[in-house]
Symmetry: C2
Subunit: 125 residues, 2 copies
């Protein structure tokens, strides 16, 4: 118990830092206001087109949606499918298998968000 401060820090930070950096990495990729929402909508609807996607995510602008989709595609969460045989060209977005690895995260957040809202309404702490 009477170890030096240096040792204490190293010990407590060790278990911590791991968690800390892992969560940091996760937030870096799926953080932000829209990423997870887009992924959710993409997962619940199979194929979905740009404008319908936008309609399903209240408040997002075309510009932002476009940028986020590029980002998500780069990171392997979304697949962009172009049907060139039609005119005007039809573009569809689908979620990848990899995006499905996020399901535990989404569920945890969703559950927590739900009970949190309930708590807020009851207590007004």
């Amino acid at each position: 118990m009477k170890n030096t401060e240096v040792l204490e820090e190293r010990i407590t930070a060790q278990g911590c830092t791991e968690h800390l950096s892992a969560v940091e990495d996760a937030i870096y990729v799926i953080g932000g206001k829209w990423k997870l929402k887009i992924i959710i909508v993409l997962q619940e609807n199979g194929n979905i087109r740009f404008n319908e996607l936008q309609r399903n995510i209240p408040g997002i602008s075309a510009r932002v949606l476009s940028n986020e989709l590029k980002d998500l595609e780069l990171n392997g969460f979304v697949k962009r499918v172009v049907h060139a045989e039609q005119t005007p060209v039809v573009v569809e977005y689908i979620s990848t298998d990899y995006s499905r690895t996020l399901q535990p995260v989404i569920m945890a957040l969703s559950n927590w968000g739900k009970t949190h809202k309930r708590n807020i309404r009851e207590d007004a702490f």
Copy 2:
């Protein structure tokens, strides 16, 4: 908003909106660059003082830490304890029971972040 929009949203978004808004609520409270990190450090160390807390969260400034702590306290995640009997005054922060309800979220994020980093290193998609 137009009537058509409202109706469309209600139909397509039905299953989705629930998840969507719950996740949105969660992100609203614990989103941002620092909140979860602070909560993690607070949970791993029992009582912790301001400067030590800052040292445990690489990169955070005093100003930001101070603001975030106020916010977290308002939302019931952190308890601020002042030991007035000493001079200079000692202030300690501890995580609340309520902050422990976030553990599933933290674990999910941490796990995902860990495997994601591994994937990144292997594939370079």
